[in-house]
Symmetry: C2
Subunit: 288 residues, 2 copies
């Protein structure tokens, strides 16, 4: 350890770690250090450049609180969150996607057919579909946790003028796996770019936009929760999602409904919805 | 971008960055993302494991202020700070080493021969030597910024009971490049291990100790500053330095002086020093 060189330091780190109590933790941290060492060596990173990285992590403190985490945002914008999602995804059924920072536990219950829109700003959207397993059997008892941004582009947590659970809900599907609710059409929006993660985007010549999406966690009895999101196929930002969350099977047509008689009978807001309005159909297949 | 796979995401990240204003910034960040992606893929990192990493960065907030930076500590303990130092070091002369977090600008002036010890706790140490260039010529006008921990193991910034500049000084060498001052013998100590960086050490079965050392920045006219540190060869932790800072040429004998007459004539504390005392000789050669 007195004759460290730029190449021997990685082995020295591994030697230091040889008594780690957990083999998994040991191999993860030795691998992480090794990749960071390779990054420094490959690029001949200068002290000023490395201090700029440390400084970004230190400045992230000022942009992190109980409603926002700049470290998660860095992970999202670097594609790491998306990659962790992909390599842990089950290969069959509806794909998973990134959770994002705006999920809340214990959102209010919404009856099947219920209305989240309630005349708020934006274009109303009917979301309907069915949850089935690999054999096509309806997934009775499934609870859908749904959340999305408001018509003004903000999640309720970002908007003091609305309640903290606006456009967050939990809905139990019907016995045949079907569900329907009305909401606002989600809109594309920028991830917060006023902190060091935003500085990274600007340094890369990148945009901060995410395409519009409907978040969902599918809690089906006897299955692991499926964390996913659905995108309208006419969104401008589908091929430039700042957080790498788009998966082709999650991109869906948002169609115009012109005939009120075509709306499901159980919609609570059926008679109050303006025509024409948007409609999206989510046929969800549980991964094996 | 709608058909991302665990392998294509790295190319997608590079494609996003193709309009980066600075080529150097672009290549650094594309390389960093690529190494992080490889880390995730190589190890099949799970969502819980990745969230533990994010959580460590988030918890580091509580251990970072104007006197301590947990992100720098992570960098030090991962060997990255030491590696950045090594790959940027000049190949000739006295080796450089890591700066550490306790350097202060504009420390008090100390006369050549001056005393930093002033009877404080610990064993007094004479530090003497000469600064020369590659041709052996004395480096007249050189200013040495020196700092170290106290006899109780704390840097002055960590010890409210002492002044903030205790054992921090700036000393100008004599025209023949020579210098001498008296101080306390620095002691080995643990880096702060009460935060998430300490959790990492425990998870690796590692110690938090650094061997005792004398920090120095050598400011010689016409040369880049040389940031380095010197270690006593009898220290227990030389081969287990938590921050990978030891370099063989920086390990020196600390000898006992038993004869007061052998002390340099210009020592301010010459008549007050207890005998025997420690002595270290630093022969510094400026890198080309």
């Amino acid at each position: 350890m007195r004759n460290l060189t730029p190449t021997s330091i990685t082995a020295a780190f591994a030697d230091y770690a040889k008594d780690a109590p957990s083999e998994r933790t040991r191999s993860l941290l030795v691998s992480l250090a090794g990749h960071l060492h390779s990054f420094v060596r490959d690029n001949k990173v200068t002290p000023d450049e490395w201090m700029a990285a440390i400084d970004a992590l230190t400045r992230a403190i000022r942009f992190t609180d109980d409603k926002r985490n700049e470290y998660i945002l860095f992970s999202d914008l670097l594609g790491v969150s998306s990659l962790v999602d992909m390599i842990n995804a089950r290969p069959s059924g509806t794909p998973s996607s990134v959770l994002g920072p705006f999920h809340i536990e214990n959102a209010p219950e919404l009856k099947n057919g219920g209305d989240l829109w309630q005349g708020q700003v934006g274009e109303p959207l009917l979301v309907k579909g069915q949850v089935r397993d690999q054999s096509g059997k309806p997934a009775k008892g499934t609870v859908l946790a749904v959340w999305q941004n408001q018509g003004n582009g903000l999640y309720s947590q970002q908007d003091p003028s609305t309640g903290p659970t606006n456009y967050h809900a939990r809905l139990t599907v019907a016995d045949d796996g079907s569900f329907a609710y009305t909401t606002v059409r989600p809109v594309s929006y920028k991830v917060p770019d006023d902190g060091p993660a935003g500085d990274m985007l600007r340094a890369l010549g990148r945009n901060a936009w995410r395409p519009a999406h409907l978040h969902m966690i599918v809690h089906a009895p006897g299955h692991q929760p499926l964390i996913t999101e659905f995108f309208p196929e006419d969104d401008t930002w589908l091929d430039r999602d700042a957080v790498f969350g788009v998966r082709a099977p999650l991109v869906l047509p948002f169609a115009k409904v012109t005939d009120r008689a075509a709306l499901p009978a159980n919609l609570a807001a059926r008679d109050k919805l303006p025509m024409p309005m948007w409609s999206a159909t989510l046929d969800i297949v549980l991964p094996a």
